[in-house]
């Protein structure tokens, strides 16, 4: 059974390794995933649990970004995660802070596309490790009334990201695989966030003690 710990902002913090099997199979908490260039990446273990769409809509990770904006997926998402409860990695909150800065800079609404927030490692569109499975990537398809559907517009907003968030990464523009031409992909990398309320790692698995 899941042993929830109440996080300060209202969503339950859960240890993904203690979730029921169908969720563990979908989230692969704490497991290793290989990215498209062959690097091994350690998936997040701690998640926030969302019980309903109303809760997702009413819970903010940043002043202008509700949880609902990060969980809008489609039929390509793993089956258990298409219905509530849903889960987002804790680092999604860091992404929301970055997006809030971006929003402040552009001065208007920033829209994250479907399948453009958190996607589980089983999401069929990913095909390997992607920061989307860490909750640290966003596909922005629209800023205000402007659709990011051509290189000029995407490049303009990518420059803003680069100036504002120097450690963030934006996907190159172009038609090739792993490139983009109909949205701005920005991510913070493979960031894992472990809130203070989390139970922590099993010390038998990590026997290095500080002196």
């Amino acid at each position: 059974m899941t042993q929830p710990v109440v996080a300060s902002f209202g969503l339950r913090l859960v240890d993904g390794r203690r979730l029921d099997q169908p969720y563990r199979n979908a989230l692969l908490p704490g497991e290793v995933l290989i990215d498209h260039v062959g690097q091994a990446r350690l998936l997040p273990r701690y998640f926030y649990e969302i019980d309903s769409w109303a809760q997702a809509r009413d819970t903010r990770l940043a002043p202008h970004f509700a949880v609902s904006e990060f969980i809008h997926t489609d039929v390509r998402e793993a089956e258990p995660l298409r219905v509530f409860p849903r889960y987002i990695p804790c680092a999604t909150a860091l992404l929301a802070i970055a997006l809030e800065q971006f929003r402040n800079e552009v001065g208007t609404h920033v829209f994250i596309g479907a399948n453009g927030g958190y996607c589980s490692p089983r999401h069929t569109r990913l095909g390997g490790a992607s920061p989307h499975s860490w909750g640290t990537a966003a596909n922005i398809y629209r800023v205000g009334d402007t659709y990011l559907d051509n290189h000029e517009v995407i490049a303009r907003y990518a420059r803003i990201v680069a100036e504002l968030l120097p450690t963030a990464w934006t996907r190159p523009l172009g038609p090739e695989d792993q490139w983009t031409d109909d949205h701005l992909h920005m991510d913070l990398g493979y960031v894992v966030s472990v809130p203070r309320e989390a139970a922590g790692e099993n010390h038998f698995a990590y026997p290095i003690a500080l002196e």
């Binding site: 596309g113 479907a114 399948n115 398809y141 038609p175």
Partner: protein, 292 residues
């Protein structure tokens, strides 16, 4: 029945094959069409009439009936639910070399689906848009989700010949390389017969497909050649050089009949819809009209 389509000469019955052939040939000549194929299957008597029914035509949007069958195949298999959400994204890969292409808004009869880019629509909403307003964007989204091979497998499972699905719609590079979806009148008629006889997977799935086809909003073809009270579950197809209509015609007190009319034209020739309507009227009168 429209006054324009009202006949002045008796029309031979369905079994008078040669005479009926001559009627359709005359219609083709008068209209200036390059080619015309017709298939009629009376589901009440089992009688059939076929005119150039094995000639291949560019499918245009009639291929969407085959994709609809494939979508319901995925639903029946449990791969999809009607309420499953699909990301509306206008980016597809060409059948030629997998380079990306988009469905142009000004070449799509349905603008509503384009307004949802970035969000999601249900499979049922996309299926409805694909058929009733011939949304090209909805068509490619559904084909992406179901898979071209899965749709073709469904067609094969029903032993449906005369329908070749090779790509999504609006794939200009594929068109330039002559990679096109193709149909014959007999092939489309067999598919519509399957649905009309409620043998497409099961009665429920068949009726759902019929309901979608019955909500067709482009009615200048087959329906325009029929008397009031007729209901048509159908799909049109129209590009620069072809104009088609394929459907099931429901008349009061009668089991439906299948009618497929495929036509090919010079790009500048006018009068396509009225020709489809006139062919529909001929088929109607061959079956019931002159004896009603």
């Amino acid at each position: 029945m429209t006054s324009r389509a009202r006949a002045t000469h008796p029309v031979p019955p369905l079994h008078a094959t040669s005479e009926l052939h001559a009627c359709f040939a005359e219609l083709q000549t008068k209209a200036g069409a390059r080619a015309m194929a017709v298939s009629i299957i009376d589901l009440e008597t089992g009688a059939e009439f076929h005119c150039h029914a094995d000639r291949w035509f560019h499918a245009a949007s009639t291929i969407k009936v085959a994709i609809l069958l494939g979508v319901f195949g995925a639903i029946v298999r449990g791969d999809l639910l009607p309420q499953s959400r699909v990301h509306v994204r206008n980016r597809f890969l060409s059948a030629v070399d997998a380079t990306p292409f988009r469905v142009q808004l000004d070449r799509d009869a349905n603008r509503d689906v384009h307004r949802e880019v970035g969000r999601t629509l249900r499979v049922s909403e996309l299926a409805d848009a694909m058929i009733t307003t011939s949304s090209n964007l909805a068509t490619n989204l559904l084909l992406d989700i179901v898979g071209l091979d899965a749709v073709q497998h469904t067609l094969d499972a029903f032993a449906l010949e005369g329908i070749e699905l090779r790509r999504g719609v609006e794939d200009e590079k594929a068109f330039e390389h002559d990679i096109n979806n193709r149909v014959t009148a007999r092939g489309l008629a067999s598919l519509l017969r399957l649905i009309g006889e409620e043998r497409a997977f099961n009665v429920s799935a068949s009726r759902q497909m019929l309901a979608i086809l019955s909500a067709q909003q482009f009615n200048a073809g087959i329906p325009a050649g029929l008397p009031r009270g007729a209901r048509v579950a159908h799909k049109t197809g129209d590009i620069s050089t072809v104009a088609h209509d394929a459907g099931l015609v429901y008349l009061p007190g009668r089991t439906p009949y299948v009618l497929v009319v495929l036509t090919e034209w010079d790009a500048s020739t006018q009068g396509r819809s009225s020709t489809l309507a006139a062919a529909s009227q001929l088929a109607y009168r061959a079956l019931v009209g002159d004896r009603a």
